[in-house]
Amino acid sequence: MIRVDQVSHQIGGAPILHDISLEIPKGGITALIGPNGAGKSTLLSLMARLQVLRQGEIHIDDMQIGKVSDRVLARHLAIMAQSTHVSARLRVEELVAFGRYPWHRGRPGPEDHALVEAAIARFGLGPMRARFLDEISGGQRQRAFVAMAFAQDTDYLLLDEPLNNLDIAGARSLMRLLRQMADEDGKTVVIVLHDINYAARFADRIVALHEGRVAAQGPAAEVVTDALLRDVFGTDAEVSVIDGQPVVLV
């Protein structure tokens, strides 16, 4: 379980998050949604100790962010940040293999190799495994980064807008893979999505952020409403229920 207790955050004096308290249960997919600038990335990077937590507490199971070492946390929680700008020229398979770094710290064993192979196969990267990251499409690169996070083999997987750059087929297949990881491997996935429909379709729970506050949380059917679109997203788009699932008609 990820427990966020009264977390506030400022950047350069500007308040970004206000007194956020939140519980993300173990297992399943939790989607973070909200308009641009709502603080989704900030909250995710605080959970992953990429920014320094100054006010409030965050616990990942019994590990407290700020107290637990980076090395230990890296075996429990993987983070894929929003901008995955990598200047290094690495091959797809090399990138995925670095997901094992927290476990072997430079000396990969047979188990590490096996898990890397599994990640490459699962994410369909076999045909492009020997290509350099700057020689594949943006969507393929995105998948390689998720595969790396998967190879890290952590209980928690935090992903910031992994559907960026993906076409509809790529986006759906990635969400299905995440679904599979949650259902079959028991992973806890926290994912920032900007497309509410993907959140409603694939996530077990949705947390909506608005101006640094939690505006709504719960299952999609409860959260995704006309009122949410109006008050949080500032749009008069309507929600229709199809097959018992809310769908935003854009």
Partner: protein, 308 residues
């Protein structure tokens, strides 16, 4: 390629010597031991270490186009030598070298600090700022040297060349070679660094420690080369770029190739410099500079979009 070049290097110089001369003539043996072997080793060590230090600096600065020798580190080393000469004129080489290593460390740290706020979306800004930074320190060194009437003294460290290398006067370069070898030991960590600060910390890497280790390695290399031979620019720029293009940036595999290529480049240009206008010599730094400037421009124009 390095092997034949090294053998060639032993036979080329102002005084011609044959294999028989090295084997049987005591004077020839003396020449070999005191001058030719040290000179060859110096070129190999300096070339390998400079190329690797460039590769490390490019990871730390997150930009392919910076190179310690021209981006402040080389100039800071000259500053260190100048300070040592002014404050403690009579001190031994190791004092000069320590002070130079420290100023180089400060200089490279300064570079990283001023590069940090630059947006990754404007990759060409980084080498530009780095060159200006190097130029500033260079100007400062020149100014101080001018005031202290030591311009000529400093000048000898500004152009790197190997004609003065003799046994007993190049051994500091083993330290540079050692620093490069140490980088190979932490190659995986450095490659993880190149994924970016966030991704690296997400993988549990102590990024501050690795940055510190990288900076120390770069500074030792640069300072030792400048103290022993003088500044040799561009090796750290063109070699890593060409190696990255051919085999990528997985440093576990790339560093040995980079080191070897750097050694070939410096040794090759040194031999060329000895041959072109024999019996006079053209400094290594001049030849490498010519070659490097051309390759640098080619690299800049070849992939502007993916420069970072």
């Amino acid at each position: 390629m390095l092997g034949p070049l090294a053998v060639l290097s032993l036979f080329i110089g102002a005084v011609p010597v044959s294999l028989g001369g090295f084997l049987h003539d005591p004077e020839g043996q003396q020449l070999l031991l005191v001058s030719r072997i040290p000179r060859t080793l110096a070129a190999i060590l300096a070339g390998a270490a400079l190329a690797v230090s460039g590769q490390i600096m490019q990871i730390l600065a997150r930009n392919r186009f910076v190179e310690p020798m021209t981006a402040g580190a080389g100039q800071s080393a000259a500053m260190g030598i100048l300070i040592a000469a002014m404050l403690f004129p009579a001190t031994a080489i190791w004092a000069k070298m320590s002070i130079a290593a420290l100023t180089t460390l400060a200089g490279s740290l300064g570079l990283l600090l001023i590069l940090r706020p630059l947006p990754p979306t404007l990759p060409l800004l980084v080498p530009l700022v780095a060159l200006i930074y190097g130029g500033l320190i260079d100007g400062l060194v020149t100014f101080i040297a001018f005031q202290a009437d030591m311009l000529q003294y400093v000048g000898t460290w500004m152009t790197g060349e190997l004609s003065g290398v003799l046994a007993g006067r190049y051994e500091l370069l083993w330290l540079a070679g050692g620093a490069a070898a140490a980088c190979w030991i932490i190659a995986d960590r450095l490659t993880v660094m190149s994924l970016g600060e966030d991704a690296a910390r997400g993988l549990g890497l102590n990024t501050k420690l690795v940055t510190g280790a990288g900076l120390v390695a770069v500074s030792i290399t640069t300072a030792m080369v400048v103290v022993t031979l003088g500044a040799i620019p561009f090796v750290g720029l063109i070699v890593p770029n060409i190696v990255a293009r051919r085999m990528g940036d997985n440093l576990r595999r790339a560093i040995p190739v980079t080191a070897l290529s750097g050694a070939v480049l410096v040794l090759g240009t040194d031999i060329l410099g000895r041959v072109l206008r024999a019996p006079y010599e053209i400094p290594v730094s001049t030849l490498v500079g010519l070659l490097g400037a051309a390759v640098f421009l080619y690299l800049l124009y070849r992939e502007p979009a993916r420069a970072a």
